[in-house]
């Protein structure tokens, strides 16, 4: 157990925490928009899967990773339009709409993958985004390997944290989003197109969930596998609520979850004398425990999950 305290272990753990948290964080950042606008999108899991597939297909056929990223985001947007339509236009219950989307996305991504690539002996692969060691910073002891030896998408994600904060707090669009989530009727009365803002927010969520999925297939891994998202879409929703809709706190929450996941793997490998199932459950238990300590302050957007209709009062 003394290994835990070595520097090498910590570096490995922290770098692992970052890698593990990035797909969740990307998706969560997009979902901050969606949730702030008052929509609970439980379809993110399905959207991420479609994005993972889109990213891989794009990269595989064009040979360009960036085109893969683009396709992933595009597909994420298109797929999220279903959610937007159901929750905003149809005003359907969002829990059921999201569940349907996840069922659809899980099936469709597997189906399309098989249709496109057929049954192969070994999965087709691409060259994933390589790790980039940032000059100078990458040479720092300890923090260099922890922070500055990742692939470009990881850095991009960190930038997106700031961008999300900026857009939400400093732009007219962000103001509209917050108003729409808090009091859609007031927003409407002030001339904000509530439906449009909600559509856009769901689509931003879709784009970033698509990217989050693509991070798995062409950022971290170099292939698409069925159901490879494995619950990260749901975790992202949790991270957003957990972070009380704040991008910086989302960064922390995603890192916490990623860190717990990375830690449990390492504890297992080291042979900690605990049944491995308990270690596997640790990140989820930890999430609950932390949630308990931060929730008192949580103020949900007042119109959370409430569809808006002018005619209704």
């Amino acid at each position: 157990m003394t290994e835990v305290l070595t520097q090498g272990f910590l570096i490995s753990l922290l770098a692992g925490a970052i890698r593990t948290s990035v797909p969740i964080l990307l998706t969560a950042l997009g979902d901050i928009f969606t949730q702030r606008a008052g929509i609970l999108n439980l379809g993110l899991e399905g959207i991420m899967l479609m994005g993972a597939l889109g990213g891989f297909v794009g990269a595989y056929f064009t040979g360009s990773l960036w085109l893969g990223v683009l396709l992933a985001m595009l597909i994420g947007v298109l797929f999220s339009l279903i959610m937007a339509f159901l929750s905003v236009t149809v005003k359907a219950n969002q829990v059921i709409a999201g569940t349907a989307l996840t069922i659809l996305g899980t099936g469709l991504s597997a189906y399309l993958y098989r249709s496109i690539f057929g049954v192969q002996k070994l999965p087709p692969q691409i060259e994933a985004f390589p790790a980039i060691k940032i000059p100078l910073l990458g040479d720092l002891p300890f923090w260099g390997p922890v922070l500055f030896e990742h692939n470009i998408l990881v850095y991009l994600t960190l930038v997106l944290v700031f961008v999300t904060y900026f857009v939400m707090e400093k732009t007219t669009f962000g103001l509209s989003v917050r108003a729409v989530g808090e009091h859609p009727r007031a927003a409407d009365a002030k001339g904000i197109n509530v439906q449009l803002v909600r559509y856009i927010c769901v689509m931003i969520g879709g784009a970033l969930a698509g990217l989050g999925g693509a991070f798995l297939s062409i950022g971290f891994m170099n292939t698409f596998l069925d159901q490879m998202v494995a619950g990260r879409g749901f975790i992202a929703v949790a991270v957003v609520i957990f972070a009380r809709w704040n991008p910086y706190r989302a960064l922390g929450a995603a890192l916490l979850f990623g860190g717990a996941s990375a830690l449990q793997l390492r504890l297992q490998a080291m042979g900690v004398p605990v049944p491995h199932q308990f270690l596997l459950a640790m990140p989820y238990i930890l999430t609950i425990l932390v949630l308990l300590s931060v929730s008192k302050k949580a103020q949900f957007p007042a119109a959370y999950t409430v569809p808006y209709s002018r005619a209704e009062r």
């Binding site: 400093k170 007219t172 962000g174 509209s176 917050r178 108003a179 007031a186 103020q299």
Partner: protein, 510 residues
């Protein structure tokens, strides 16, 4: 030839089951103040929502400044210079005043917010019209009066030339109302055209140049206001009869003390005292009016007196029995009825129908349930009776609470609370938003309860109301009772002084 800012012709609007506006004509002369009158549910708000582009009428035409327009959304209306201050404020509570002002408007810095700029124009505007408000304050920290100002400022900031104010004074103190009228006159002098919806006829007489009266969705009349116009002229138009009320000769109350409140304290989440040692008592068959500027602890006092909030310390004795420590259900059982200030979130289950709303406190009593199962027949019968008795206007007892006009919503609460045979009624703003007919009815009902020995705490922003039916009057200021006096020897001025925090010399004991 007068020029009209607004001309609406033959407007018809239906909601499932009922016609809210039926072939309504409405004209607003440029540069004038126009009163829009009508009983609760007459269709005033609906008509104005149509003018503001929130609802689209099934029939009818709208002309703004002489040219025909189609208003599909509020943005189009705002672009035509129409602004509306809604009956229920359209403010986003967790946001600041400035942020609320900016909502939906393009910014001079493109996609970026220009808070500083907006704040400057806001200060300028509020100086010009004497509408004081802190631009950086969050809406939820503001009193209703201040929120009202924010709404008006926001409308002005958008360059509105035509202003719609839907019952702006319902939530204001007399002083605030006076302030508001000064401002409205200022704006009229500035060339703006104003539509004012109110149930307070004296306000119309004071300020309006013209009135339009709606009844049951139809326009039943309209005329210029002259110095000769009287309140009864207007009531006649509105309800087709005169409303007389005379509460003067009520017998003095002699009952024994029922409710004693002793040194009641309550601290808010920041540990600041909201109730700071409240002392008073109410006798059997007595109405104690509680005057005070909104936000001085009235809401919290009601919540403590009904068990919704636990007090920090102090005593509440009902016929000598301590109530503190009981749950809300305990207070209900002891016969404390509560007419809450927030009818939407607290007083009513908006998604439930009327019949159900009438029993939400009593569903488990043997009257409405048997062996744990609800007795639907009893529930429906109860509703039928009360709907009639309280003249609740609705498409039926299956109508949802949220589909009723504000006045009718209030009547449901009253009907429920009063028929629960209470020992004490805590009535917080019981007539806010009610038309005069309904207002008089409620006051009569409260008097009736008084006559039956019920003790009533009447909280109202309307001093007239307090003076009209209270036996004694208390004034609350910063969580303390500044004085309790007998209704007979008190003047509005005196109360006004105390409401502003000036101690009264003579404390009447009862």
């Amino acid at each position: 030839m007068q020029s009209y800012a607004v001309e609406m012709q033959g407007i018809t609007k239906r909601f499932k089951g009922n016609v809210a506006n039926n072939q309504v004509d409405f004209r607003l002369i440029k540069g004038s103040i126009h009163g829009l009158l009508g009983e609760n549910g007459a269709g005033k708000t609906t008509l104005m929502n149509i003018l503001f582009g929130l609802y689209q009428p099934e029939e009818g035409q709208i002309k703004i400044n002489g040219s025909a327009v189609v208003l599909n959304n509020p943005t189009q209306a705002m672009n035509l210079g129409i602004g509306m201050v809604h009956q229920h404020f359209m403010l986003v509570r967790p946001m600041t005043v400035v942020e609320n002002m900016m909502l939906g408007l393009p910014s001079q810095r493109g996609p970026l917010l220009d808070k500083a700029k907006v704040e400057a124009s806001l200060r300028e505007l509020s100086g010009k019209y004497n509408l004081k408000v802190d631009p950086k304050a969050k809406i939820r920290q503001l009193s209703v009066g201040e929120q009202q100002r924010v709404e008006i400022l926001s409308v002005l900031y958008r360059g509105a030339e035509i202003l719609i104010l839907d019952e702006p004074t319902a939530v204001l103190t007399p002083q605030e109302s006076t302030e508001l009228f000064k401002i409205l006159k200022l704006m009229r002098d500035d060339g703006k055209s104003i539509i004012l919806i109110t149930h307070k006829l004296e306000e119309i007489l004071e300020i309006a140049d013209e009135v339009t009266v709606l009844r049951d969705g139809c326009r039943v009349g309209g005329e210029p206001i002259t110095p000769a116009t009287t309140k009864s002229d207007l009531t006649n138009l509105m309800v087709g009869r005169e409303i007389v009320c005379n509460f003067a000769e009520k017998p003095p109350c002699t009952g024994k003390t029922r409710l004693v409140v002793d040194q009641l304290m309550l601290k808010d989440e920041h540990k600041l005292p909201v109730l700071n040692g409240i002392n008073f008592s109410i006798r059997e068959g007595e109405i104690v009016g509680l005057a005070g500027v909104d936000g001085n602890g009235q809401k919290e006092l009601c919540e403590v007196l009904t068990g919704l909030k636990p007090s920090s310390s102090g005593k509440i004795l009902l016929d000598g029995q301590e109530l503190i420590g009981k749950k809300p259900s305990g207070f209900i059982k002891e016969g404390i009825a509560h007419i809450p200030e927030d009818r939407h979130k607290t007083g009513l289950a908006m998604g439930f129908d009327i019949a159900t709303n009438l029993i939400i406190k009593e569903y488990h009593s043997p009257r409405f349930s048997f062996r744990g199962l609800l007795n639907f027949k009893a529930i429906q019968d109860n509703a039928k009776r009360l709907l009639e008795e309280y003249k609740i206007k609705a498409s039926g007892q299956e109508a949802k609470a949220k589909d009723l006009s504000g006045g009718n919503q209030q009547k449901i609460i009253l009907a429920r609370e009063i028929t629960s045979s209470p020992r004490v009624i805590i009535a917080n703003q019981p007539t806010r938003g009610l038309d005069i007919g309904a207002t008089m009815y409620v006051r009569e009902k409260l008097m009736e309860q008084r006559a039956q020995g019920v003790s009533i705490l009447l909280i109202s922003a309307d001093l007239e109301e307090i003076l009209q039916i209270s036996d004694r009057i208390a004034v609350i200021y910063e969580g303390q009772i500044k004085g309790i006096m007998d209704n007979k020897n008190v003047s509005i001025e005196e109360i006004g002084m105390m409401m502003a925090g000036v101690e009264s010399g003579e404390k009447a004991a009862c």
